[in-house]
Symmetry: C2
Subunit: 247 residues, 2 copies
């Protein structure tokens, strides 16, 4: 596809909804208060949750978190026409769960292209975990199990690289022979060219037009094809990763 203009983008792409020992979303609420200052109403996409919890219950969880900063949250599943709901939305939050399930349902409901267009048109988008993963070019650096078969691995491409949420450093004490996260991403790069940003829990990317800034408490780990992985500290600009793939 032709890449749309990026100068209206507004996203927060967060590794996780919850950091250990604190309530849902609480670590990032001060940041969301500024980010969502322009609207009181946020559409919540609950599709990633694999059951056990209904879409209603998941939306209530999201509403509980965002209610702390005075926002009203409406589940996308409550609209008879979800495409229209996305086109009319003032802001969107996509929660975590299973990325395969999320992507399958986004396609089945015809949401992928309308959501992409809305995000490039300036719709404020906040995503955690699976909801962060889908802002990348593809979902192929998810950590999730393929519990359903989506019609494609292509996602929003709101940023021109891939996201690895819940990035986890190798456990040097381990004798386990399964691949580490870093090994898996290196395998991804045997086949796919785009950079991968490993976001540790408590970190997020703030995308504002052309600018992509790492925020939160921790450095990110960046993987580029054919290079050693490296760390970028909080406050770094990551937009150069987009120019690489576009150039």
């Amino acid at each position: 596809m032709n890449r749309p203009q990026t100068n209206r983008r507004k996203l927060i792409i967060a590794s996780t909804s919850t950091v250990h020992g604190s309530p849902y979303l609480s670590y990032i609420l001060p940041r969301l208060q500024t980010f969502f200052a322009g609207t009181d109403e946020i559409i919540f996409i609950p599709y990633a949750r694999p059951g056990g919890m209904t879409h209603d219950a998941y939306t209530e969880t999201a509403a509980g978190g965002l209610g702390e900063i005075g926002k009203k949250v409406i589940g996308l599943h409550t609209f008879s026409d979800p495409v229209r709901a996305i086109r009319n939305a003032r802001a969107v939050f996509t929660g975590g769960g299973n990325t395969f399930l999320l992507v399958k349902q986004l396609y089945e409901n015809g949401i992928v292209q309308p959501l992409r267009e809305a995000v490039f048109g300036g719709l404020p988008y906040f995503g955690t975990s699976a909801g962060a993963n889908i802002t990348g070019l593809t979902m192929q650096t998810t950590n999730d199990m393929p519990i359903v078969y989506p019609p494609s691995f292509d996602t929003l491409g709101a940023v021109s690289f891939n996201i690895n949420p819940h990035y986890l450093d190798p456990d040097t004490r381990s004798t386990h022979m399964g691949e580490t996260r870093e090994t898996r991403i290196r395998e991804f790069h045997k086949i796919n060219p785009q950079a991968v940003v490993g976001l540790r829990e408590g970190s997020w990317l703030h995308v504002s037009g052309e600018h992509i800034t790492l925020e939160g408490e921790l450095p990110a780990r960046v993987f580029e094809q054919g290079k050693e992985a490296y760390e970028l500290p909080e406050g770094s600009q990551l937009s150069f990763l987009e120019h690489e793939i576009m150039g």
Copy 2:
């Protein structure tokens, strides 16, 4: 599909090729000596390896391991007609790597159905890691990253359940919010009915006709839809898991 007769099956479905601190395949060579007693020649399927190592080099590794018990190993990639090679094979070994890549190439080379038929016809099949995963009904309980998009997640169905290789117990010290393996498999069961056998490194299933026996040093962790996960000790029969899904 109609399930074929199972009385000719001969498989070893192993969690891993290598246990920590010992050479490639060495922990399982005594068992393979008996298992492969009927043939000196084994076809090796190297497709799972995502690059960095060529199919030739990977086949050499396999040949080095199986050479210790006097077997000749030939890479499937060296045949101009791989389907015919599978049909004529005396024994097959599928090595580990990335399951998505393995399954994609099995489909692209038209190998899935011929390999399934050969296995149900009595071809001795040994698989480690990704090569073990594909003996299940689907590859959907892999731990791997979706670095390529296969045309289907359906695999050999040589056993009527799914395999989770490199099964890893939850790390009770962890503060990480990413899902544990057990949580991922529970999510799988929100959508899929078949049992999942979590094979710890150093364990394998020996399938002989209708009998499926857990061998190796460690218990397996079994996940059935709607039940608490439980442990089965070495020597257990697992064929009851097939009857559940078929009944």
